[in-house]
């Protein structure tokens, strides 16, 4: 049994401008000790997907419209607030992108770590403090004793992100959700934080859902990848398949639009023309069809199903239909990366 099974998840938001279908049918599994990366542009629904898993969709504007989220076999969507609190922060926890706005600026960082321990693990304040200092040491913060009593503004961006990780990991969760954990950081600090996450995963066998838009981060840290576009999962595969045998034209476009550092010759970049869909009035058919070089008539009319390409690899594209023309252009994808 997988640790987490998400099935046909749908989330919408009611706004003054109309209803936005932010997530339109997302399904995936996360196994023990595995890292699943979700990639996509802003507005693709990647953050909303994980917020739904964490039960963070703000009511009444946001609504989980359908589907199921099973965590350790338990259906999360049926739990009430109190039952959900037993899981949130204890068995699964989340790291947010912007550590400055996620931490409480008026509270010592150590207290923010022990807070969860006192609530979930029923330990005394003194015990919680000892454990919190241990956590700070574990995430690589020097002078942990002193740092325990400091406030978020006294920390640098990378250090604050470490504090967030310490808070998330304090109760030894089985699942860690990291929503763009390194996007706000400089590359040298990003390398530190990613290394820390990997060390912890190895040590504790934690499963990680990693949201990112950096394909480099995906290649180095993930086992499985989910590519999202316009609220839909357009491709799902192993990280090797993503780079060696990408199937969806959007994935091709993403891979083509990043420059290759190792190419001597400067080739012109091949961007994906056009812009992402307006979610207030999404295209009737495939969300990517208006920007897709290979779009056929049916793509404008109907949303394609997920086609199975190979074991654990599926793609939401009509080109995989028996009747569709074959595209040779991308058979040699290896050369791209």
């Amino acid at each position: 049994m997988s640790l987490l099974e998400v099935n046909n998840l749908k989330v919408n938001f009611k706004t003054y401008g109309g209803t936005v279908d932010a997530v339109r049918g997302v399904s995936f599994n996360v196994n023990h000790g595995e890292t699943v990366a979700i990639v996509g542009e802003s507005g693709s629904g990647k953050s909303v997907t994980v917020q739904a898993i964490m039960g963070l969709i703000a009511h009444p504007a946001g609504n989980v419209q359908g589907g199921s989220i099973r965590f350790k076999g338990k259906e999360l969507l049926k739990l009430n607030k109190k039952q959900m609190r037993e899981i949130k922060g204890k068995q699964m926890s989340m790291i947010f992108q912007d550590s400055m706005t996620s931490l409480n600026p008026t509270m010592q960082v150590g207290k923010q770590i022990s807070e969860g321990l006192i609530y979930h693990q029923n330990v005394s304040k003194r015990e919680a403090k000892v454990r919190a200092i241990e956590m700070l040491k574990e995430v690589g913060i020097p002078n942990a004793d002193k740092r325990y009593e400091q406030y978020p503004h006294e920390f640098s961006g990378g250090m604050r992100q470490r504090v967030m990780i310490a808070i998330a990991l304090a109760c030894n969760p089985d699942l860690l959700i990291a929503d763009e954990p390194t996007t706000a950081l400089d590359v040298t600090i990003q390398a530190q934080v990613l290394e820390l996450l990997q060390d912890i995963q190895e040590k504790k066998d934690t499963s990680i859902i990693l949201i990112t838009h950096d394909l480099g981060v995906v290649a180095e840290g993930a086992d499985k990848v989910i590519v999202m576009y316009g609220g839909m999962m357009v491709e799902k595969c192993s990280v090797h398949e993503l780079f060696s045998n990408p199937n969806h034209p959007y994935t091709w476009g993403l891979l083509e639009s990043i420059p290759n550092v190792y190419h001597e010759k400067k080739e012109r970049l091949k961007p994906i023309e056009g812009s992402p869909p307006d979610l207030f009035s999404p295209p009737k058919g495939c969300p990517f069809a208006p920007r897709c070089k290979y779009a056929m008539n049916i793509c404008m009319e109907e949303v394609p199903d997920l086609y199975d390409i190979a074991e654990g690899h599926s793609s939401r594209c009509f080109l995989n239909d028996e009747l569709a023309p074959k595209i040779a252009e991308f058979s040699d994808a290896e050369e791209l990366v």
Binding site: V261, K270, I272
Partner: protein, 317 residues
């Protein structure tokens, strides 16, 4: 050798914070930017790369040092000449949302420079706006619309059109693609490259995304805590980085290829020190894996160690 369009001589920009405390944002940079090239400038946040860019454009005055444009010190020019320099040296900002006035129509935003410099009026002005919009790949019908009606990528195009309106020769592009989605970044980068050829421009391209900088730049300078660490052509910088900081910076970039086993990554320990109180001697020594005794005693000299390959490091002196 190409002629330098911009030359900076030991530029320093210090900001006073509180009593007797100085942030040495830019601390003595002397470089030359050649006519027709794209000069990439990389560095982490707080390295002073944006301040340096603003100093060149004249948005802030350097505390010390001088900027030379086409061979003459900008400060010594007459008022009229300075105005010409102000027109020919332009900047594109990072955040197109914040740098476009939300209450102005796109046409007027683009024409602001034209009006200020009195370049065109009436029908000519209108035609120029249409022409500019077309050149940045937008439909001229949008002149009466407002910035909020556009996506980030389109807004950045409007920002670029505004910059081009005054027929600049040299443009500082301050993180022009950082706020955009991956698939849009390539569009804007291509646009900048095309314009460089068609309008005969020279760029100072500031960014922190190394792969994008490499793609667009002819030469790259690496900054750390207000100082230039290394400067050479972009291929050489990636193939044989000399300065330990450049080496660490390059090795920290995640590679989008899972078949490459993780190279021997140099993970730097700790954070960059505060620019208020930078380390004495070499500023990088506190995080440098090769730090020696001399590094804390003396700041390394900025030296040309190979032809057109400059670095400031005691390992090469």
């Amino acid at each position: 050798m190409n002629q330098g369009i911009i030359q900076t001589i030991d530029i320093k920009k210090h900001f006073a914070i509180g009593r007797q405390q100085l942030v040495k944002s830019v601390d003595g940079i002397s470089i030359e930017i050649y006519q027709g090239e794209t000069f990439g400038l990389v560095g982490e946040s707080g390295s002073g790369k944006s301040t340096f860019g603003k100093t060149i454009v004249g948005l802030t005055n350097p505390t010390e040092g001088a900027v030379y444009y086409e061979g003459s010190n900008v400060k010594d020019l007459s008022k009229k000449e300075q105005q010409r320099v102000n027109r020919e040296v332009q900047i594109i900002f990072q955040d197109p949302q914040a740098s476009l006035n939300p209450r102005m129509q796109v046409g007027d935003i683009i024409a602001e420079g034209i009006d200020a410099h009195g370049l065109a009026k009436g029908k000519q002005r209108k035609e120029r706006i249409y022409d500019l919009l077309e050149r940045v790949g937008m439909n001229p019908d949008v002149v009466k619309r407002y910035p909020h009606e556009f996506s980030g990528g389109q807004r950045q195009r409007i920002g670029i059109a505004r910059t081009l309106a005054v027929k600049p020769k040299f443009i500082v592009a301050d993180e022009p693609i950082s706020a955009l989605d991956v698939s849009i970044q390539a569009q804007v980068l291509n646009l900048l490259n095309d314009l460089k050829d068609s309008e005969d421009l020279t760029y100072l391209f500031i960014a922190h995304d190394l792969s994008m900088v490499k793609h667009i730049s002819d030469r790259i300078g690496v900054m750390y805590l207000g100082s230039m660490m290394e400067l050479t052509n972009s291929q050489k910088l990636f193939n044989e980085p000399k300065h330990p900081y450049t080496q660490a910076l390059l090795s920290a970039v995640p590679v989008p290829d899972p078949t490459i086993s993780r190279r021997d990554r140099i993970v730097l320990q700790g954070d960059p020190p505060s620019p208020v109180n930078p380390p004495n001697g070499c500023k990088f020594r506190t995080r440098c894996p090769h730090a020696m005794e001399i590094c804390s005693l003396k700041a390394p000299e900025w030296k040309e160690i190979q032809s057109d390959h400059w670095t400031a490091c005691h390992l090469y002196s």
